[in-house]
């Protein structure tokens, strides 16, 4: 009896399946059309809502960052929605956790891609790599929560500022002009395996080539928490400075070990290399003495309008939270970029995915009020939108632990740098 029953059920199921196919209308969040205000709409835009997809890492290696980023994004869009939204439409945020796992990310993307007009945030170069073929064929824009130039040229990708290699070139420039590094000197570069570190290394090698500097490379992975061997190699090579493209735990270890081995040299880090927590570790004194950060994202002590507004709003919405430059501030800036693109698209009366992408590429001097250094130019997809960087020194008194050194700047060398 049972196998016949199973057979009949299976046949019935098969017929049902064949009958109610999903059809061509997979996109539920607004199909093509024109709404009442004669704005052309596409997937992700209806008469009263615009939907943005967010793909942070909320449970993997970068989970704390991801949570911070969502705080920043929600902060921006809640305020924007209260002020009337964009194009008379409210902004809806759809979040899917990628767990920093390409497999999860691809599946998560498949899940929300039909409903969104673009991706407000994607964290992780390997994630973006995995998603790019689909994002390109779906024709939507993507805010990349990372600053590597290896992804360029990319029509669909928006970076908030300039890239790690440019940061490294600026770092070398700073060391030579302010920290006494001269032609013929040796500098060390401690970097993470992967897009972040190796992209920064490209920049430092370029700058070194221009100024006859020798670079001692030390590649590490996030699992390496003890920098004894690396510092020893740097000391033996007689480095006059160290470039740093890794994460805060390694920074603390590097600074601490260097101090203990009497390697008293300046250390200049890319943006992701700092968190104010480090001031509570035994390496705090060493960091205050020798640690600098070069980054597109503003240190929280910057007195510009955008940063101060962010800080005030953040403290009101998250009284117990801690704002961070690479977390909440980044997502806030990313939302500013998305906002500018969507607003322009609305002016062009074209809220299709292509319309938004075209609007993004028409922005040539986007001013974020200082959250990102300088203004952003999205007209050339083969170059990063930003050119300037903030230079900051560790300071226990400054909010966020970093004190900006002067206005955002650009090294002359950077202008001659070729991407790819």
């Amino acid at each position: 009896m049972s196998s016949r029953l199973v057979g009949s059920v299976a046949v019935a199921l098969a017929l049902v399946v064949a009958a109610c196919g999903k059809g061509g209308a997979e996109e539920s969040g607004g199909g093509a059309g024109t709404s009442a205000d004669t704005v052309k709409t596409g997937p992700g835009a209806t008469a009263d809502t615009i939907t943005l997809g967010y793909l942070p890492d909320l449970s993997g290696v970068f989970a704390p960052n991801g949570k911070s980023q969502m705080e920043g994004a929600n902060l921006y869009w809640d305020a924007k929605n209260k002020a009337g939204g964009i194009c008379g439409r409210q902004i809806e945020v759809k979040v899917q956790d990628t767990g920093y796992d390409p497999q999860k990310a691809v599946a998560a993307y498949q899940q929300l891609s039909g409903d969104v007009i673009g991706l407000g945030l994607v964290l992780g170069s390997s994630i973006v790599s995995a998603l790019l073929p689909s994002v390109e064929s779906d024709g939507m824009f993507l805010n990349f929560a990372g600053w590597t130039s290896d992804i360029l040229p990319a029509e669909n990708v928006a970076i908030a500022g300039t890239t790690y290699d440019i940061e490294a070139i600026n770092a070398v420039d700073f060391l030579m002009s302010e920290k006494g590094v001269k032609a013929g000197d040796t500098i060390g570069h401690l970097y993470f395996e992967g897009d972040y570190g190796e992209n920064a290394l490209k920049g430092s090698k370029f700058a070194a080539g221009k100024h006859d500097l020798k670079i001692v490379e030390q590649k590490i992975t996030p699992a390496d928490q003890d920098m004894t061997g690396q510092v020893s190699a740097f000391k033996k090579a007689g480095v006059k400075a160290i470039l740093f493209s890794a994460a805060p735990p390694q920074a603390a270890s590097l600074a601490g070990v260097a101090a203990s081995q009497k390697l008293d040299v300046p250390i200049v880090a890319n943006g992701p290399g700092w968190t104010p927590q480090l001031l509570k570790t035994p390496a705090a004194k060493a960091l205050e003495a020798n640690y600098y950060v070069v980054s597109s994202m503003a240190p929280l002590s910057v007195q510009s309008e955008g940063v101060q507004k962010f800080l005030t709003d953040y403290k009101a919405a998250n009284p117990k939270g801690t704002p961070s430059s690479n977390g909440s501030l980044y997502a806030y800036a990313g939302a500013q970029i998305a906002d500018a693109a969507l607003t322009k698209a609305c002016e062009n009366k074209d809220l299709t995915r292509k319309g938004v992408l075209d609007a993004l590429h028409s922005l040539n001097a986007l001013d974020t009020g200082g959250t990102v250094a300088g203004t952003l130019d999205f007209t050339d997809p083969s170059r990063p939108p930003g050119k300037l960087v903030y230079l900051a020194k560790v300071s226990a008194d400054a909010p966020g632990g970093l004190k900006a050194l002067g206005e955002p700047s650009e090294a002359a060398d950077a202008q001659g740098y070729e991407f790819k």
Binding site: S3, R4, V6, G7, S8, V9, A10, V11, L13, A14, V17, A18, C20, G21, K22, G23, G24, E26, Y54, P56, L58, S59, G60, G66, K67, M70, E71, A73, N74, V95, Q96, D97, G99, D101, P102, Q103, K104, V106, A107, A108, Q110, Q111, S113, G114, S125, S126, S129, A130, L132, P133, S134, S137, D150, E193, G194, D195, E198
Partner: protein, 339 residues
């Protein structure tokens, strides 16, 4: 007659599912199918041949990168697939002498070393592997029909546009069916029984005339070929592969799949693979509607952490209460019904 009806019905359902499943489910299914193929190979190795290997992710990587490289160099996709599987098999054969010398848990942990070595090579041999940037994977095609969104550019069946995921579904189903069929036959065959004797006692097997060295090598070769095939399907399912996907976590995942499914069982491996692969993706999918879970972006336990918890708890539960895995449970349920 009813048997034929059931088979026919299953066949129809499998053929018709892409009409109904949305891209998220198709994508998840493809990843699960790739894992199933590889898991069957590992289940045979551990359960039948008795060799504990944690290196499976390494052979999967060889399959994936092998296909990407060959197809990228212009080799016809079908040949690239076969080539990748062969490469993985060769690698497995090359590893078997070590398996010959080292036994039991030492073998398991030694094979773990292969995974780390593999990661190192994938990250540093940038000429072939693209390093941390990864490589794009050429779509699969057969006699001019491409398993992507082109060639034919629009294929509509029963009102549903058939794109890359829908087309790959069929390839996946065929490959899984082949893998299961071959595996089941292998278990029942003479070589399969020789391997089982080998697992129970190498000395007894040798006494009975089983060429221990050759059979161990064969076991590793076959298991790695399964891994390689799984790797190819995984590469196709992704469209672009990066080294991180083939690390320590994946190796452990395979071991868990085999344990949950029941070592030595082909069906069990497939079930275990489905569970381990689909669980985090599905929980993520429904995270909005499950009451206890925090929304992504707030504090508290989110869908991903919850799925890790379930994953860990499932391992513990299976090992405490159902040591033979799902296959053992199924076997016991069948026996009870007959009795």
């Amino acid at each position: 007659m009813s048997r034929a009806l059931v088979t026919a019905a299953v066949f129809v359902v499998l053929a018709a599912l892409p009409i109904w499943l949305e891209s998220f489910w198709l994508q998840t299914a493809l990843f699960a199918m790739a894992a199933m193929i590889a898991a069957i190979g590992l289940s045979l190795l551990i359960g039948i041949a008795g060799q504990l290997s944690l290196a499976h992710a390494f052979f999967v990587a060889i399959g994936a990168y092998g296909y990407a490289y060959l197809a990228g160099e212009g080799v016809a996709p079908l040949l690239a697939l076969l080539g990748a599987v062969l490469l993985a098999g060769l690698a497995g054969a090359a590893f078997s002498p070590i398996a010959g010398r080292v036994r039991g848990i030492y073998l398991g942990l030694a094979s773990l070393g292969l995974v780390f070595l593999g990661q190192h090579i994938l990250q540093n041999a940038t000429g072939i592997t693209g390093g941390y940037e990864g490589v794009a994977v050429e779509p699969f095609s057969l006699f001019g029909f491409s398993f992507s969104n082109t060639d034919p550019d629009t294929l509509v069946i029963l009102g549903v546009p058939y794109g890359r995921l829908e087309r790959l579904w069929y390839l996946g189903v065929v490959l899984v069916a082949l893998a299961v069929w071959y595996g089941r036959n292998l278990v029942r065959s003479r070589p399969g029984r020789a391997l089982a004797t080998l697992r129970d006692s190498e000395v007894a097997a040798a006494v009975m005339g089983v060429d221990v060295v050759r059979y161990k090598a064969a076991a590793f070769t076959v298991s790695s070929m399964y891994a390689g095939l799984g790797g190819v399907l995984m590469a196709l399912a992704f469209g672009r592969i990066v080294p991180e996907s083939f690390g320590f976590v994946l190796s452990v995942d395979f071991l868990v799949m085999v344990v949950i499914g029941g070592a030595g069982s082909v069906g069990g491996a497939a079930a275990g693979a489905l569970f381990v692969t689909a669980l985090p993706l599905v929980l993520n999918h429904y995270s909005g509607s499950l009451p206890l879970l925090a929304e992504p972006g707030t504090g508290g336990v989110g869908a991903s952490e919850f799925s890790r918890f379930i994953y860990g708890a499932a391992i513990v539960a299976v090992l405490l209460f159902a040591r033979d895995g799902l296959a053992g449970l199924a076997r016991r349920a069948r026996k009870e019904r007959v009795a």
